[in-house]
Symmetry: C2
Subunit: 561 residues, 2 copies
């Protein structure tokens, strides 16, 4: 059997290694357009920032080492330029010589990846970069070494944010431009606000809701122009506007393609041609939460798919059960992670979702170094099934998202979260882990023990004559931040001061994080008040709406506002 693999990075390299382990006799050819295989593509931004300082670390596997270990015919600088399905051949171009030749296959693994999107208005290649390959990285690094001092990073996704951080670490003045009103599309707007503020703290100039209409080099500068008429300039620019499947070959070969040009595969990673498998950023996969199809250009799925394709080629009927988009980002001191659906994707899937917001310490507060994380968990209202989760904080963040990712995969409900038996010792967690707590909060809401409202409703509530805003923080906390018009009764005084509240109104309660106000709601409800708890507390409202980013910030009062 002869297997040709187009693309030697994540999915392709994994497929090659697994194929060899399963079949010592097969002839395996890897065609890689670039000069490197199985390299550390997720590490490229960190090389630019000097976090990874040794070039060899990026390319731990060389074509030679891969060949030696796996007896695979690795051909770098070898671009597949045509798939000839009827004769089962690939036309290969030697990138350095231009020579073309045909390579026969019995099975083909197509792992072309995705290319960085470059809008038509971009002009220039000397000072405007993308970051996908080792070659891109070296080129960018060489340019930086010539003394660039400022950069426009276009796009606030993983690559944009990681590169912004690393270029800032390298001393550049960074302007980050994003079309949407938030960075990190996998997060909801409110959770992304934490990243927004952190970027500002770290000196990144962040231009949200800015639509680029022009980006061009001129002389020693790059000039950006926005739809609003605003302009920006810098010594260089990085395009990180997302990726699109690089599936020109598949299209030309008339393999079935779907949305955005992704290759359609079955659960065995087989394309519409039974002798061609496709894996990685270029394929359309099932979202394991909704069952709908999607593109998930992440390394984890690519590696899993490469292995599954190899299994099937060797007669093991492995199945890819879909992705749920679990991902994590380090952004300066912060970690942001998410899995499953967010508000937008849940709504798009027609699910009746709601969410809870927690502000939980990563470990017991009496043990040194505890820091709170913001944890948002989405659930299906009717059955309490967990649909997605997002967390932003400093430590233990992606741990909770990994646990929730596993729970979501198992189709667990909020009640199941309360039952999870997780590791506890003071340096690592609390006796009730934040994941347990999320389950408890959801169950309290679902069973009607407490009602909750969100930051979105505050402006209307401030103006409503039927709403009574009650802040149960201490007077000191209240002085620091509270909502306009709120009455301050500390929770511990509430039982004795209920008479001060107008029972004809609905009481909208908040504290700092949402815990004391929950207790207050229990007290109020027992005394016949209609009441509701502000999810995430004043802290989350300030994070989302404060700092002048939002019109709602005018409803905030206090010394810290």
């Amino acid at each position: 059997m002869k297997i040709v693999i187009i693309g030697g990075v994540a999915g392709g390299a994994t497929a090659a290694a697994r194929l060899r382990r399963l079949n010592e006799e097969a002839q395996i050819v890897v065609l890689e357009r670039g000069g490197f295989v199985s390299y550390a593509n997720c590490g490229l931004p960190y090389y630019l920032g000097g976090v990874i300082s040794d070039r060899r670390k990026l390319t731990l596997q060389t074509p030679e080492s891969f060949r030696r270990r796996f007896n695979v015919d690795v051909r770098v600088h070898s671009e597949a330029v045509e798939i000839l399905r009827t004769q089962k051949q690939v036309r290969v171009r030697d990138v350095k010589t231009g020579r073309e030749y045909l390579e026969k296959y019995d099975k083909l693994v197509y792992s072309p990846g995705a290319r960085a999107i470059v809008p038509p208005f971009v002009e220039g290649k000397e000072r405007i970069f993308t970051l996908r390959t080792v070659e891109d990285t070296y080129r960018l690094d060489d340019f930086l070494n010539k003394g660039a001092r400022s950069v426009i990073v276009a796009g606030g996704g993983f690559i944009g944010l990681e590169t912004a951080e690393n270029l800032a670490r390298r001393g550049l003045s960074v302007t980050l431009v994003e079309l949407a009103d938030q960075v990190m599309a996998p997060l909801d707007y409110d959770m992304a606000c934490i990243l927004r503020d952190h970027l500002a703290e770290k000196g990144i100039r962040l231009l949200l809701s800015h639509k680029l209409t022009s980006l061009r080099e001129q002389g020693e500068k790059v000039f950006a122009q926005f739809e609003s008429g605003e302009r920006a300039e810098a010594d260089m620019a990085l395009l990180a506007l997302g990726v699109q499947p690089e599936t020109g070959l598949a299209a030309a070969a008339k393999l079935d393609l779907g949305a955005k040009g992704g290759v359609i595969v079955d659960e065995h990673m087989r394309t519409s041609d039974p002798d061609i498998y496709a894996v990685g950023d270029a394929v359309i996969v099932r979202n394991s939460v909704t069952g709908s199809t999607t593109l998930v250009p992440l390394a984890g799925p690519a590696n899993k798919q490469g292995r599954i394709a190899a299994d099937n080629i060797c007669g093991i009927p492995s199945v890819y059960r879909g992705a749920q988009g679990s991902s994590v980002l380090k952004l300066f001191d912060l970690t942001a992670a998410s899995t499953g659906l967010n508000e937008r994707t849940a709504a798009a899937a027609g699910l009746d979702a709601a969410s809870v917001i927690l502000f939980s310490p990563d470990h017991a507060t009496y043990y040194p170094g505890a820091k709170n994380m913001t944890l948002k968990v989405l659930y299906e209202k009717t059955d309490g099934r967990i649909l997605g989760a997002q967390a932003v904080g400093f430590a233990g963040v992606e741990k909770r998202i990994d646990v929730l990712a596993t729970a979501i995969r198992a189709r667990m409900t909020a009640r199941n979260l309360t039952e999870l038996d997780l590791c506890y010792a003071p340096p690592f967690s609390s006796a009730k882990d934040p994941v347990n707590m999320a389950g408890y909060v959801i169950e309290n809401v679902r069973t009607g023990i407490v009602k909750q409202h969100t930051w979105k409703e505050i402006p209307a509530l401030v103006q409503s004559a039927d709403a009574l805003l009650l802040d149960v923080q201490t007077p000191e906390e209240f002085a620091e931040a509270h909502i306009q018009g709120a009455v301050n009764i500390p929770v511990d005084e509430l039982r004795s001061r209920l008479g001060e509240l107008d029972k004809s109104k609905t009481v909208y309660v908040n504290c700092y994080s949402g815990l004391r106000s929950y207790i207050a709601c229990c007290i109020l409800a027992a005394h016949g008040f209609r009441c509701s708890n502000l999810a995430g507390g004043i802290r989350f409202y300030v994070t989302v709406c404060g700092g002048g980013y939002d019109a709602a910030s005018r409803y905030l009062c206090g010394q810290k506002i």
Copy 2:
């Protein structure tokens, strides 16, 4: 409704708070023998070591603050001395005055905890301590302040190890005594060897397999005597020999008790008396993996149970689904965590279990700071269901165990582990997380792609004429450590040197960690060799059997042995 709660720490305090939130009208009385409620009992060792330096941090909740927040009648120094079930009363003794009185209840929550085991041969109370309460901690601290310089810690479980670390941190010379041949009973012997070596590195004198027959104070010293005739002495001793349910009241009241005096409860935490609930260290719970009953004296289950008892008292039929013993220990620089069954408990449950050993980096090796963890995962041979997991390492350890705990709760199989979509970015994990990798390795073993043998079999294999030991490390690695009699052929040369191997023998292959030797096995099997892979590699064999701890260490050769 009037609810009396016996015991104001984890389970009792949680029950009180939840009861109040669910029922604002109920009269709630908490009886606590000691002077503190809802204190940080898992933090006590860290106070001794100065990691937690502020006494107030241990007792964040005071009786007063608890009373104010929850309108609960908290009575400290109030010991319940009798439960009068027929008249539904508790006899209470004021510990300070000796005055006794009767307290009526409609529902009783019994949360007495467990007491430290003190064997009959222990003589002395001035220099021999236990560590359960805040008072114990202060007493121990006061004694330490008088200048003790050495300590015998009896017992190598959580409390013993955490206290040993903290007393060493305080400058004491620590001798840790353990009856078993390993510390940390939740771990298998081989995994506990990593802790053993770490303790030695940190200067703890560890006496394993030492049966105490006498421990007594005399003058300024404590003297220990062992069954072997050996002796030890120190300025003081700490007993951490485990705990037993403190259920004398329940026994006297003729509540149904089970093994080791634990209180028998139903899934609603109700005892044999429908008006009495019991929670925490004193109750017998279901092991959620095997379905058998057990005692799990851990804070996580206690807190969950307290809440469930409160729910049921208030008409919410919450159910406790059992514990799986998830736990984590910080031991100097190491983290050790486990969940579910280990080899011993799996065998006791009659399960046909096997395990795999991985040595996986906590995050991408090209990103700075990656450190390997040893991960052992147990599975049921016939269906591949995950039964338990243990991990020891430096970072990301309890994250993987929490994910596996969730997977075990969902009754996932090894294949399900391979399918988990977990968060990946270079600072946090690898594209294939160690949990995914564990699933792959198990599937390879289960489907017969590779056979494996363990460190236990090495001595017999060295002596067997039918076994060929093949070490596929590099010559440099081989020189550092290899098994006596092993042939060295680096994996990358194996294909061209197969002729050197005798096909009539079974080839037992090892490399450093088990990965290259797996590839070697694939090559060998394809060429018709019978072969097997050493689980965990030479590294794990050295860890378990090296250092002279085990007779098998004589089969180890090399510069590092």
